[in-house]
C-alpha cells in the first residue's frame, strides 16, 4: 500500500514528469522562469491548486457525476479549478503583493494550465482512489515546481553568460529546456 504511494510520488516527480516528459504546462514553464523567486512562488501556488484540485475533482467525479454524467467531467473540473485558483489569487494578493505582481497574468492562467486540468483527467483515466488522486496531483505539481525552479536558476545564470547573438533570450531557453527534457528521460526505467 505504502509502496504504491511512494511509487506514484516518485513516478510523477521524475519518471513521468508533467512538464519534461508529458509536455504539459509549458506556458508557465517558459513564462515564469525568468526569476527564481517568481518560479518558487508559481511552484507553490500550482502545488496548492493542483493538490486541492485533484482531490476535489475526484470527489466530484465519484459522488456528484458518477458514470451517468461523465460528459460534465471537463466542464465541472474547470469550474472547480477556476474557483480554487480565484481563492489562491485572493490569498496571494493579501499575503504577498510582490509575488502577486510577479506572477501577474500567470496566476489566473493556472486555470487554463493544461497540467492542472490534465492531472484530474489522468486521475480518472487511471482509476485512482482518493488517496492516490491526491498524491498524483501533489507529485505532479512537485515535479512541475522542481523543473520550474531548476530551469529558473539556469536562466538566471544564462542572463550573464556570453550567448551568441541569435541564441539570446528565448532561443537559448528553448534549447536548455530540450536538454533538460533529455536529462529527465534518463529517469525512465527507474520504476518498473
Amino acid at each position: 500500500m505504502l509502496e504504491s504511494y511512494i511509487l506514484i510520488l516518485l513516478g510523477t516527480v521524475f519518471v513521468n514528469n508533467i512538464v519534461l516528459v508529458k509536455i504539459l504546462g509549458l506556458c508557465p514553464f517558459m513564462g515564469v522562469s525568468k526569476k527564481l523567486e517568481a518560479s518558487i512562488g508559481m511552484g507553490a501556488a500550482t502545488t496548492f491548486v493542483l493538490t486541492i484540485g485533484s482531490g476535489s475533482s475526484y470527489l466530484i467525479n465519484q459522488y456528484l457525476l458518477g458514470p451517468d454524467l461523465f460528459y460534465l467531467r471537463t466542464l465541472s473540473f474547470i469550474v472547480v479549478i477556476a474557483g480554487i485558483v480565484q481563492f489562491t489569487e485572493i490569498v496571494v494578493e493579501k499575503t504577498s503583493p510582490v509575488l502577486y505582481q510577479l506572477l501577474g497574468i500567470y496566476l489566473p492562467l493556472i486555470t487554463t494550465n493544461c497540467a492542472v486540468l490534465g492531472i484530474p483527467l489522468l486521475n480518472v483515466q487511471g482509476n485512482h482512489n482518493f488517496m492516490q488522486s491526491l498524491l498524483f496531483g501533489f507529485g505532479g505539481s512537485v515535479g512541475f515546481s522542481l523543473v520550474l525552479v531548476l530551469f529558473a536558476s539556469m536562466r538566471e545564470r544564462m542572463e550573464a553568460a556570453d550567448v551568441p547573438g541569435p541564441f539570446k533570450g528565448s532561443a537559448i531557453a528553448m534549447v536548455t529546456a530540450g536538454l533538460m527534457s533529455l536529462a529527465f528521460m534518463g529517469f525512465a526505467g527507474l520504476i518498473r
Binding site: R157, E159, A160, D162
Partner: protein, 533 residues
C-alpha cells in the same frame, strides 16, 4: 601554543631579503611637506591652521571631526605655505585637500610631555590618542582610539599584535620589531591596559626569525606576560581575521567586528606609535617605509609624513633605468601611484619601484572555466567564481547575497586564476557600485522625508489660512449689523476729511510771478486735455 589554520592562502615569492640587509635609515628633512587631511578611514580632519601660520614640530594642524576620524600634525617646524587640492596617494589618482608646510630647518619641537596614563580616566587617554592621530599603520589606517575603547557588551580577552607582514616585498614591520622591540612591547602594555585584555599574543610569520627573537627577548624583560607566536608563512596570514583564526582558532562572524569574539587586533607599528605618544608625547608624524624593487639602495627608511615619494625614492638611490612606475603597498594589494609627486601618508608601508621584469603586465583575460581554484585559495571561504559572475553582469544584489563585503581583496583568487581574470578588480567595482547606490538610496530617503514634511506643511498652512478666513468671515458677519462698527467707520471718515481740510500744499504759497504764470498755463493745457476726454 597550539596554532590553527585558515582556509586557502597562497605562497607568492617573498622578495623580502633585499630590503632587510640594512637597518632602518633616516632621511634628511625635506624642505616642503604635503599633508593630506584624509590619511585615515572616516571623516576628513578639520583644519586648525591658516596659510602663513608658523607651526612647531608636533603641533596639531587638523583636528579629528567626529568619532571615526584622526588628527594630522606638523612633522617639523615651519610655515604653512598653502592649503589646496593636491594629488594624494590614492587609487583614484584624484587630488584632495592638503596642507603644504615649508620647513624652517630648525625642526623645533612644540610643547610635549609624556602622559601618565594610569593616573587618568581611560576615556581621557583615548581622547588624547584621538588627538594624537594614532591610526592602524598596517595599511587600513582605521583610527585606533575607536578600537581601543573597552566595550562592556563585548569585553576583549585577547589582544593580538600583528607582526605577520605576509605580503611580499614589505619589511617595515620586520625591521621595526628587530630594532625597536622594547618600545613595541611597551606600546602593547599600554594597549592591554586600555582594553583590559587578559593576555596578548604577538603573531610573527616564521620567515622573520630575527624579529621573533628580538620580540621574545623584549617580552622576557617585561613584567607582563606576552606570548610571541611564530605562525607559518602563508599569504594572507597577516589579514586581521586570518591571524585571529590562526592564533585563537576563532572565526570572526561575517559582517561582525573581532570584538564580538573577544579579540582585538593591532599592527606592531601602531603599538610603537602608542608608546611614542604616551611615553614621549609625540604624535604620529613619521613612519617606517620600505623602499624596494628597482631602486639602488633598497631598505627601510624612517620618513616624516608628507615627504614626497619621489624624494624618498631618490634618497634610496633613485630608480633603475628599466623602472616604469611606483607601487604603493605590496604587489598583491597595492596600487600604482598616479605620480611620484605625492606625499608619504600614514598608510604608506611600502614603495616598490616596479619594472616589467618584476611585475609582468596583465595578460588578456580568458573566459572563466569554473575550475574553482579561486574558491580553494580564498581565505574567507567565499565563492569567487560566483562573485565574478554576478559582478560582471552588474547583478549586485546577488553579489551582496554571496557575501561580497566579506572579501578582503587579498588578491589570492586573481593570483591563481589560470584564465588571468582580474577578479579583485571586479569585486572592487561591484563593492563601490553597491556602496554608491546605498548612499543614493539614503539620500533618496532623506529627500522623500523632506518632501513629505514640506507637503504636510503646505497642507497645514492652507488649513490654517482657511480656518482664519472662516473665523474672520464669521466675525465680519456678526459685526455687520452692529452700530459700533458703522460708527467707527463714520468716525474714521470724518477724521480723514478733517485731516484733508487741514492740509495746505506747502509749495503753492509765496510763488514768484513767473512760476505763477507757468502753473496757470499748465492748468489751462490740462483743462484742454480733460475736455477732449
Amino acid at each position: 601554543m597550539s596554532l590553527f589554520k585558515f582556509h586557502g592562502g597562497v605562497h607568492p615569492p617573498e622578495h623580502k631579503l633585499k630590503s632587510t640587509a640594512a637597518p632602518i635609515r633616516s632621511v634628511t628633512m625635506p624642505l616642503r611637506l604635503v599633508l593630506p587631511l584624509r590619511q585615515h578611514v572616516g571623516n576628513v580632519a578639520k583644519l586648525m591652521v591658516a596659510v602663513g601660520d608658523h607651526v612647531l614640530k608636533g603641533q596639531l594642524l587638523a583636528a579629528p571631526d567626529g568619532m571615526i576620524s584622526a588628527a594630522v600634525h606638523a612633522p617639523t617646524s615651519g610655515t604653512i605655505a598653502a592649503i589646496e587640492e593636491r594629488l594624494i596617494p590614492h587609487a583614484s589618482g584624484l587630488p584632495d585637500l592638503c596642507i603644504t608646510l615649508n620647513a624652517d630647518g630648525e625642526d623645533r619641537w612644540g610643547d610635549h610631555q609624556p602622559l601618565d596614563y594610569q593616573a587618568q580616566e581611560k576615556s581621557a587617554v583615548l581622547d588624547a590618542l584621538r588627538l594624537a592621530g594614532v591610526v592602524g599603520l598596517g595599511g587600513a589606517t582605521f583610527p585606533s582610539h575607536v578600537k581601543l575603547r573597552a566595550d562592556d557588551a563585548h569585553p576583549v580577552l585577547t589582544l593580538i599584535i600583528n607582526g605577520a607582514e605576509c605580503e611580499p616585498y614589505i619589511t617595515c614591520d620586520d625591521l621595526l620589531m628587530r630594532e625597536r622591540a622594547l618600545e613595541i612591547v611597551r606600546g602593547i602594555e599600554i594597549m592591554q591596559y586600555l582594553l583590559g585584555a587578559k593576555h596578548a599574543i604577538i603573531g610573527i610569520e616564521d620567515n622573520k626569525p630575527e624579529a621573533a627573537a628580538a620580540m621574545r627577548l623584549a617580552c622576557s624583560q617585561n613584567s607582563i606576560s606576552i606570548t610571541v607566536a611564530t605562525v607559518p608563512t602563508l599569504y594572507p596570514g597577516g589579514g586581521a581575521k586570518q591571524l585571529i583564526k590562526v592564533l585563537t582558532g576563532l572565526e570572526v562572524p561575517s559582517g561582525k567586528l573581532p570584538t564580538t569574539i573577544g579579540v582585538q587586533c593591532f599592527n606592531v607599528a601602531t603599538a610603537y606609535t602608542v608608546h611614542r605618544f604616551i611615553d614621549h608625547g609625540e604624535p604620529v608624524i613619521s613612519r617606517v617605509v620600505t623602499v624596494t624593487g628597482r631602486v639602488a639602495q633598497p631598505g627601510n627608511y624612517e620618513v616624516p609624513l608628507g615627504m614626497e615619494i619621489f624624494d624618498l625614492v631618490q634618497a634610496a638611490g633613485g630608480t633603475a633605468d628599466d623602472s616604469n612606475g611606483l607601487v604603493m603597498g605590496g604587489p598583491m594589494m597595492g596600487f600604482n601611484l598616479p605620480s611620484g609627486h605625492v606625499p608619504v601618508v600614514k598608510g604608506t608601508n611600502c614603495i616598490i619601484a616596479s619594472a616589467p621584469a618584476l611585475f609582468a603586465p596583465q595578460p588578456p583575460a580568458m573566459p572563466c572555466i569554473r575550475c574553482a581554484r579561486c574558491a580553494e585559495v580564498c581565505p574567507v571561504n567565499l565563492q569567487p567564481q560566483e562573485l565574478y559572475w554576478f559582478a560582471r553582469a552588474d547583478n549586485f544584489e546577488k553579489a551582496r547575497s554571496y557575501d561580497l563585503f566579506d572579501c578582503i581583496e587579498c588578491g589570492c583568487c586573481s593570483y591563481v586564476c589560470p584564465s588571468r581574470i582580474p577578479l579583485v578588480q571586479y569585486y572592487r567595482y561591484a563593492k563601490s557600485e553597491i556602496l554608491a547606490s546605498d548612499k543614493a538610496r539614503q539620500a533618496a530617503n532623506v529627500a522623500r522625508e523632506r518632501n513629505e514634511l514640506r507637503l504636510a506643511r503646505i497642507a497645514r498652512e492652507k488649513e490654517e489660512r482657511a480656518a482664519k478666513h472662516a473665523e474672520r468671515a464669521v466675525g465680519a458677519r456678526a459685526e455687520a449689523g452692529g452700530d459700533a462698527k458703522q460708527a467707527a467707520i463714520a468716525a474714521a471718515m470724518a477724521r480723514a476729511e478733517a485731516q484733508k481740510a487741514e492740509i495746505v500744499p506747502q509749495n503753492v504759497t509765496d510763488l514768484s510771478p513767473l512760476v505763477a504764470t507757468e502753473i496757470k498755463a499748465i492748468d489751462a493745457r490740462r483743462g484742454k486735455v480733460d475736455d477732449r476726454d
